[in-house]
Amino acid sequence: MAQPKSRLTRTDWTHIAFLALPAILFVTFYIYPVISSISLSLHDWDGFSPRMRFIGITNYTVLAGQPRFLHAVFNNILWVVFMLIVPTGIGLLLAAILDRGIRGEKAFRIIFFLPFTIPAVAVAAIWRWMYEPDNGLVTTVMNLLGLGSFAQNWLGDPSVVNFSLMGAVAWWTTGFAFLVFFAGLRNIPTECVEAARIEGATPWQVFWKVSFPLLWPSTIIVLGMAAIDAMRLFDVVWSMTKGGPAYSSEVLATQMYDLAFGRFDMGRASAVAVYLFIIAGIIIMPYIVYMSRRVQDSEAE
């Protein structure tokens, strides 16, 4: 009777009861599918036939030699770099400017955040219209400014398509970085900023020496989310170009979708997914470890 298990208090039982349902969902919808995908990636299977053929790591080795696959990996890495720098940087800049107390602050705050609330498919639809080669807004404005000769077939030219997509995504995601930074700046005790100002620091110095270091919790959230979004990127690319022209804007997610549900090559598609998982793990794991460690620190206080 006196087993250690019976020592669990009522509080412990409550905790276990509360965690039961999330745990079941996690096992069913994360752990099981991940293991299942890894196993699928070792097979040749079209998704219909009752028999799967075990082929070992062939899917992985074939992919590693394919220019199409390597290009998608390259694009994903390009997206990570872009997402970490551009929307984050513009968001920080806008938040820092707006934090200085400007008339119409509320209106600006809404305007900068609005694009973030809209669906990726709406972003795709609107920006396909913006990028129409002949009479889209981008080309029209460039013509008006006398820059018409720089106008491109924005989504049809393999060498510019990625940058066109990035323009749309920057417009779409900057609002999130902006709002988190803005909330973070508002959270900084005014005494810190006042003290620096009285000591004679310029606004530039106040920002980089006082505000920015105190913004670290916001920064880490924005960077972490940016990396996660970059690895998961699918909707905008799929709706705008389907990865084209000639696979030039393809990322791992769209390639995987095309292989699985366009070509019914479930094994090869799973191998793409596992590669994506590994790359995402390498890039995002430090963030997860950092987040859970920060939790321990804050509890130790």
């Binding site: 905790h15 999330p22 069913t28 400007i102 609107i126 009479n135 919790p217 998961r232 791992l252 997610a253």
Partner: protein, 274 residues
């Protein structure tokens, strides 16, 4: 050089930057809105104002995608409620547990955030078919709730951790059970956090394309995002109806954000601070 003139010049500079950025941020939305009211003959003149309100675009959009908008509502509302609930019930013990077991569970749940959805996509497709929820709205509730677990847990755990612990201890001394404390005291006290998370979740679920495209095929369950993506990626795009359906798809979450933006910022501060 007086310092006031430098300040004045700086104010003018910041205002100019802000207004310029605001124009860039608003232009695509404005263009979409204007285009949705243009007749087919006006549509190629991007900078013009529509000569009349041409509602035909909305009529066509409604005809082709009306049902999918209804589906989007029927999917989003319950899925948001369920995902908030699951995040709260997971976040509560993780915010209050002592010892390392809570931290281990929290870490495992957090790793879910790095899982690219693509790795679950194929097994999920077969799993949902096997349990008979393929191409159904409840199937979408289940999937959205399940994939909300890591983020909602993370968000609510941090929010709960910022609620003063003395409230918990006082309630227990008064004879309140941990279970009752959650339902009667903690949840009502977390309204702003829940509101913020509700907005984040409405956006995520309303905007989802990946799960919708994988797990629905017919108008019974297909949400608007799939319909719009279909219009947008077809070779011959009719921009009038496309922009009309795009405008309609933008409005709900935008309205929710504008209505709840105060609690959104407050909840974000509560969750992100510390």
């Amino acid at each position: 050089m007086s310092s006031s003139s430098i300040e004045q010049r700086q104010t003018i500079l910041t205002r100019t930057v802000l207004i310029g950025m605001a124009v860039i941020f608003m232009a695509p939305l404005l263009i979409a809105f204007l285009t949705s009211f243009k007749t087919p003959s006006e549509i190629t003149r991007v900078l013009s104002i529509p000569s009349q309100l041409y509602w035909e675009n909305y009529a066509i959009a409604f005809q082709r995608a009306g049902r999918t908008f209804l589906n989007s509502i029927l999917i989003t509302v319950p899925a948001v409620v369920l995902s908030l609930l699951i995040g709260a019930i997971a976040g509560y013990p993780l915010a209050y547990m002592r010892g390392s077991s809570g931290k281990v569970v929290y870490f495992i749940l957090l790793t879910g955030m790095l899982v690219p959805f693509q790795i679950v996509q194929i097994p999920l497709f077969f799993l949902i078919q096997k349990i008979g929820l393929y191409d159904t709205i409840p199937g979408m509730w289940l999937v959205h709730t399940a994939y909300a677990v890591p983020f909602c847990t993370f968000f609510m755990r941090n929010f709960f951790a910022s609620v003063p612990r003395s409230m918990y201890e006082a309630a227990l001394i008064d004879g309140c059970s941990p279970n009752l404390y959650f339902w009667k005291l903690l949840l009502p006290a977390s309204a702003s956090g829940l509101a913020a998370l509700a907005i984040i979740q409405s956006r995520a679920i309303w905007n989802d394309l990946l799960f919708a495209i994988t797990l629905t095929t017919s108008d019974i369950a297909r949400p608007a995002t799939v319909a719009i993506s279909g219009f947008a990626s077809s070779l011959q795009v009719e921009y009038g109806p496309l922009m009309a359906s795009t405008v309609v798809s933008i409005i709900p979450v935008m309205a929710a954000y504008l209505l709840f933006q105060k609690s959104f910022v407050r909840g974000l501060l509560g969750g992100a601070g510390k």
